[in-house]
């Protein structure tokens, strides 16, 4: 058991348990939010033009 744990500790982990997995998720959320805000900006311009 100890040997197994030692072996697995030496191996890297899959994406979901990595900090950069969380960073990827956060970035996707932020970029999507920015696009939604950009859409509102576009709509605001259209509203003023009407």
């Amino acid at each position: 058991m100890e040997k197994q744990e030692k072996q697995s500790v030496a191996q890297p982990s899959p994406i979901e348990t990595h900090a950069w997995g969380q960073m990827l998720a956060n970035s996707l959320w932020v970029v999507t939010l920015l696009m939604v805000l950009a859409f509102f900006w576009q709509s605001f311009g259209e509203m003023l033009a009407k």
Binding site: S13, N26, A38
Partner: protein
Amino acid sequence: MMSLTWYLLGLLTVASGEGLRQVNLRYKLDWIAWGGLFSGIGALLFCIAWAVGAYLEGVPRAAAMGLLMFGLGGIVILAVVSKYINARLEKRVVIAAGTPAIGPAAVKSTTVVSGPLKTSVAISPFEKQIWSVLGRLAYLSLVIAFFLGLMSDGKDYETMLHLKFPEAKLTKLRDNPTVFRIGAEESGNYALIQEGQGYGGPFVIGLRIMEDAKIHEVVLFDNKETPAFLDKIEKANFPAQFAGKHVTDDFLVGADVDVISGATVSTRAATMAVRNGAHIAATEYFKLKPTWKPVPWNFGLGEILIILMFVLAFVPKIHKSTPWKHLYMVASLVIVGFYMNASISVSSLSGLALGFIPPLKEHIVWWTLVMGSVLSVVLLGKNVYCYRICPFFWVEWLLNKIGGSGVKLSPELQLRSRYVANACLWVALMLVFLSTYPGLGNYEPFAMMFSLDGVGVQWYLLPLALVGSFFLSSFWCRFFCPVGYSFNHLLSWRRRILDKFKTKEESMEV
């Protein structure tokens, strides 16, 4: 700008090369992993070049398609390769340890490897209070915006008509609908302003009818349609087909009026306005007997299938047992998505709030999905649309099955994402209520997904929502969808009202 893109792409290529070297040092890649990573990264770099190039040329639709085809393609390849590398890794662990690395032991070991990721945080009572105050202010501002919008709505169509026919002498004959006589009293020439109801709101049209009782000109004065649909109507020069038609004609879409493909609802709304105007002129001013056919019920295969889908959404067994669930998913994608393109959007809901209700006879699909879903929330307390009928949910579900990664937002963002989504819904509703133009708040990527209709920035939301759901389950539904959040608000109001009634009844009994 393009040279800057090439420069950045060069930097990214070098960085990717170094990244690949590091990955190789860490994981000892074989030729399959090398090939996969190489093509995945290549597709992503190509996607950036394509998207920027298309954007600079002013074709956001092509940019979005590039992002989807090559971006999502690249990510799918990278996800499959990462799974392959992980599988090889587990194999190595098994060989090295002599025991299979599955079950809780393996899970425990991987958690040890990654180091502690923060999994739970809480919002401070002060911040909670701030959000609560902001929520109340949001409701108040929406009510104010609603009435402000209604008060300021109403364009001066008479002036528009005067501008359209500057040389003519216009004499107003009646209001609602507004009718003018053009020229002298016995001229027999009329100009009418009429409305037809679309999904987004009234479609206002000006008609010029001359003494031969024929339509000579149709002008689109105002509309609240989604810009992508209006674009199709304008490109097809839809009003031109009415010129020369007699006021006693039927004006029925699909019979004597050509439908504009992909803009059926807008076509029906505009035709309704022309029909109403022409028939009023026929009976009131030309004293002709009504010989036209009544508007038939628009009830075909699509309507039957949508009603069936809606009814089946209430059957729990279908959504629990695997073959039925999958069949329902295919039906939702094919029927609600690609065949009818009838997804509910924030513009449908806000249009309903503004009283823009299309006639049942011609819009059974709208009544079934929008009215049916809202009524099932209000009367039964059940949201049968999200996670069941909505085709975009199933697209996300499928993508997440392929991606299968369990990445999560950081707990801080997860906690606040609900407030941010509600803030987005608030902005959308403010825009709609102040302008009384439901299309302005329509930031969902549904129409782009199923009929490739979109304007400007909307095109970039679709690839982002799809890539997001590839990594995070129901990415759009959970973090952004205004329809889901609107239904949640309705459900919470319903619960509060019922609770109040219950407390009142209990206090009466005591």
